[in-house]
């Protein structure tokens, strides 16, 4: 299910999730003439440009005007098109949340919102451009599906799946080249979390490229006798109650991992599920109510506590406190 030698960092391929978006768009565009793509002056860096090159008549650059972009997409959708709205997540759905809420979600318009450049790994551009709140502001909206793919292959599948959903979908992408640790054949279903690695001491539930750090952490922990189950909760809404609760019942300890604020993100979504149905000790790894800053992605992940060593530390401390 995962790529061969998944823990070998020398051989694993690396590609940004946004590349999967561009490639999937081109394929979708060929199959379905109702696919249209909009961008707010960010064709190249969101990879919408790949679609533009093939299907210029179905590509619309709205300029630096995200509010209008979301509204135009809603109108296109209400008239039979399937628009993909491509921008950085800090702008869309950051700047045009009202339009997302009213014109798209409440209207159940068939718009796909692609939020690129999420997380601290945006790096040197700094806090203004690092979307750390997008999951929180999207998962609270009725009718909206929210997906954070873990690598380039999963991104392609998520884009194809989104095109088939008759309703609004938000998909969270990242800038950096990150490990392609699933394969083109790995099964993917919206709303179904996938167990990447089985274990019985602790459940590590994450989403996005940071899951590779979680896998490496689990690999290390295994060598000291802690078997962590790693779950890819790519669909944050609707969240997979069944898989999360079943894993919590088995391990009785959960750690969530995300490149997002812990307030309102995946960790919060998992906490909502567990506190209502099966309360267990829970630790959340994410950005702790602070903005990011400029730096290399690696430096930032370490400084803000999101690297594998800090996942390992958190799990160790949790195991110790639970005397497992």
């Amino acid at each position: 299910m995962l790529v061969r030698d998944v823990y070998n960092e020398k051989t694993i391929g690396r590609e940004p999730t946004r590349n999967g978006y561009g490639a999937a768009l081109v394929e979708l565009g060929r199959k379905n003439k109702n696919i249209v793509v909009l961008t707010g002056d960010l064709a190249e860096s969101t990879r919408a440009q790949m679609f533009q090159a093939k299907y210029p008549e179905r590509f619309f650059d709205v300029g630096v005007a995200e509010q209008n972009m979301m509204g135009v997409a809603a109108g296109l959708a209400l008239t039979g098109k399937i628009p993909f709205v491509s921008s950085y997540a800090v702008f869309s759905p950051g700047r045009n949340w009202d339009q997302l809420r009213v014109s798209v979600c409440y209207s159940r318009a068939n718009v796909k919102i692609i939020g690129a450049h999420t997380g601290l790994s945006v790096g040197p551009d700094g806090a203004t451009h690092q979307a750390l709140e997008d999951i929180a502001i999207t998962r609270c909206l009725p009718n909206l599906t929210v997906i954070a793919p873990c690598d380039v292959h999963e991104t392609k599948k998520a884009i194809f799946a989104a095109a088939k959903i008759a309703g609004p979908v938000y998909i969270r992408l990242a800038r950096e080249a990150t490990p392609a640790f699933t394969t083109p054949n790995t099964d993917f279903q919206v709303g179904r979390a996938d167990i990447l690695r089985r274990g019985h001491h602790v459940s590590i539930i994450g989403c996005g490229p940071i899951l590779y750090e979680a896998l490496q952490a689990a690999h290390s922990l295994s060598q000291e006798g802690i078997e962590a189950e790693v779950i890819n909760c790519h669909t944050i809404k609707p969240i997979d109650h069944k898989t999360i609760i079943a894993s919590a019942k088995k391990t009785e300890a959960v750690v969530t991992v995300e490149e997002h604020q812990i307030i309102g993100g995946l960790g919060s979504a998992v906490a909502e599920v567990l506190s209502a149905h099966y309360p267990v000790p829970l630790k959340m790894i994410g950005v702790r109510d602070t903005f990011g800053e400029s730096g290399t992605p690696n430096e930032l992940m370490i400084k803000y506590g999101l690297d594998r060593n800090q996942i390992i530390d958190t799990v160790r401390r949790m195991m110790k406190s639970l005397l497992k």
């Binding site: 709205v62 209008n68 509204g71 135009v72 109108g75 296109l76 209400l78 009213v102 159940r108």
Partner: protein, 291 residues
């Protein structure tokens, strides 16, 4: 004396007197609805009644029995708060029973306080938070053009709404793509919630602004039926640009104590005010048709 106007899409003649009588009926329904609801927007609803009547009974290519007919012209309401006039007009056109009008803003009603595309037949778009309808209308015009359809898109907007930056983003976009299947109608009634538009956030010179943004501008008296119909029909044949019709209207039109008073932007009539308003409107009706 009835003046006859022939519209392009419909092979029928329009009796302007009949349209005025219909507008008068719609105004009376608006007053009744707002009174029953106990909240809602009187000024803009009454001010735009003549334009809604002209659209649905003289200009649009539509079929109230088939609200989802793909060949229909589209109407998007950007200033959703004047939906009482939209609802009353749609009911008179036959989209849903007139008896449902009294459910406006009530629990379980299809007539939501602000229009919702999924709630009521004939309501194309969701609106309320200002500035959003024009972008949606542009998206519809773009989609229709991609499909090489001839349907026309009308977007009704308020003047106060033009304070929203999104509207100007939208105007730039429509001009860039030369959306000649789109007409925006601005309800230029000079009021917004807090007062007169030129005191709150001046808009003039409004026509010049639109011209500078690449739009073709028509200015009309928004209560003159022949002018309204003529402008809306003309807007369909302007080939090079999107068209904006700046419609000068009187907020609260037809009810003496509401006319031109911004205090009536967002409130409904009380019982005595309802009775007075209906009395005045009935008198106006007699002026059209005799007693």
């Amino acid at each position: 004396m009835a003046l006859l106007v022939k519209t392009k899409n419909q092979d029928k003649h329009h009796d302007l007197e009949a349209l005025s009588v219909l507008a008068n009926e719609i105004r009376r329904d608006i007053i009744k609805m707002l009174y029953e609801a106990g909240s809602g927007h009187s000024g803009g609803s009454l001010g735009m009644t003549d334009i809604f009547t002209a659209l649905y009974f003289a200009v649009l290519n539509h079929d109230p029995k088939k609200p989802a007919w793909s060949g229909r012209d589209r109407v998007f309401l950007s200033n959703g708060h004047i939906c009482p006039v939209w609802y009353a007009t749609l009911a008179h056109a036959g989209y849903f029973p007139l008896s449902e009008l009294k459910t406006l803003r009530k629990l379980g009603s299809r007539l939501q306080g602000h229009p919702h595309n999924l709630s009521l037949p004939g309501v194309e778009n969701t609106g309320g938070p200002l500035g959003q309808g024009i972008s949606q209308a542009i998206g519809a015009a773009l989609a229709l053009r991609l499909d090489q359809k001839k349907n026309y898109v009308f977007c009704l907007m308020s003047d106060g709404e033009l304070n929203e930056g999104q509207t100007w983003e939208a105007f730039m976009f429509a001009a860039k793509y030369k959306l000649n299947n789109l007409t925006a109608v601005i309800d230029r009634n000079n009021i917004q919630i807090d007062g007169y538009t030129e005191d709150i956030m001046p808009l003039e010179p409004l026509a010049d602004k639109f011209k500078a943004f690449g739009w073709h501008v028509l200015e009309i008296n928004g209560h003159n039926m022949p002018e309204i119909i003529s402008a809306l029909e003309t807007s369909k044949v302007i080939y090079e640009k999107p068209v904006v019709v700046i419609a000068h209207t009187i907020p609260g039109k037809g009810v003496s104590f509401m006319e031109n008073r911004f205090e009536w932007h967002g409130k409904p009539p009380a019982k005595n005010e309802r009775d007075q308003a209906l009395k005045e409107l009935m008198k106006e009706r007699k002026d059209y048709v005799g007693s």
